[in-house]
Symmetry: C2
Subunit: 189 residues, 2 copies
Amino acid sequence: MPDFYFVTSNRGKYEEVRLIFEERGLELGLIEESYPEIQSESLRDIARFSAKYCAEKFNRDVLVEDSGLFIRALRGFPGPYSSYILKTISLEGILKLMEGVKDRSAYFQACVGFCSPGKEPEIFSGYVEGRISEEIRGEGGFGYDPIFLYGDRTFAEMSKEEKNKVSHRRKAFESFLNSRNTSSKGRII
Amino acid sequence: MPDFYFVTSNRGKYEEVRLIFEERGLELGLIEESYPEIQSESLRDIARFSAKYCAEKFNRDVLVEDSGLFIRALRGFPGPYSSYILKTISLEGILKLMEGVKDRSAYFQACVGFCSPGKEPEIFSGYVEGRISEEIRGEGGFGYDPIFLYGDRTFAEMSKEEKNKVSHRRKAFESFLNSRNTSSKGRII
């Protein structure tokens, strides 16, 4: 029986997170379902609502995760609506909006929500800082990775392993795991 | 006692809708509250969720409304996230995205949700077709009005009365009112 359950309809995301749990000797179960996400400028509020919803719906302890890219010069855009905005205006749209813009700083944020039925959710955040590139670069990754510079390479120019080592998602899940008092070697202590 | 209740935290929107009901001799009550809206590409689904949520929360028949601007060349962007996107990239951002774009056609959509406690919501849509202007024009209106061309004027160059006569919001609420068998002169018949 798994130690924790992660609700997501995204298999790739599940695989990435499963490995983080495995490093600590923990088994992560998958509930392969989608769920309603609310509109909010705050990923924390979105994760809070989803975690609560899923805990009641599946009547067990659950984990959910939401993430987004926040570009400072664009007041946080695309932020919580990163998926929709990528699908509509695409990476080219983002680069067009950034034409002639000096401050290219941006960050990815991930928020993990953990909730037990009948209880209030707990939220854990992770961030990674970077810059928006001048052009699309690299073949790896997904989403905004080809325009997100981490040092002098985009996330799409790094291997999956390199990226996953520094990712906002890893940081958010590690923050959750640390709160559970899990050792790096084994089961919950 | 009002004939219907409209849930919104936007007083200006309430006033606009109140007048449409008044034309038919109907009184519209205001429940001045905000409520969670889900993330979806479909305004219908957003209105459906909100109407259901509010009917249960306030334990009475309620109306809610959501609207957005859909630009065809941008695959519907900014769509359901029109408010957030306006606040972050502003009208200038939209015009930048539309630089050099030939197909400038766009439409406003409004969706009204009506729901009674314990029942399924009913949804009513209204549309108005237009084009995205080459520059910001006009002092009236709000939101995307200064870049939305209706004929050869933007919504912000028209009087409130002119705009409200042809608006997507009016069409959606009239569609609702017609479904209730209200006469143009008086109470529900």
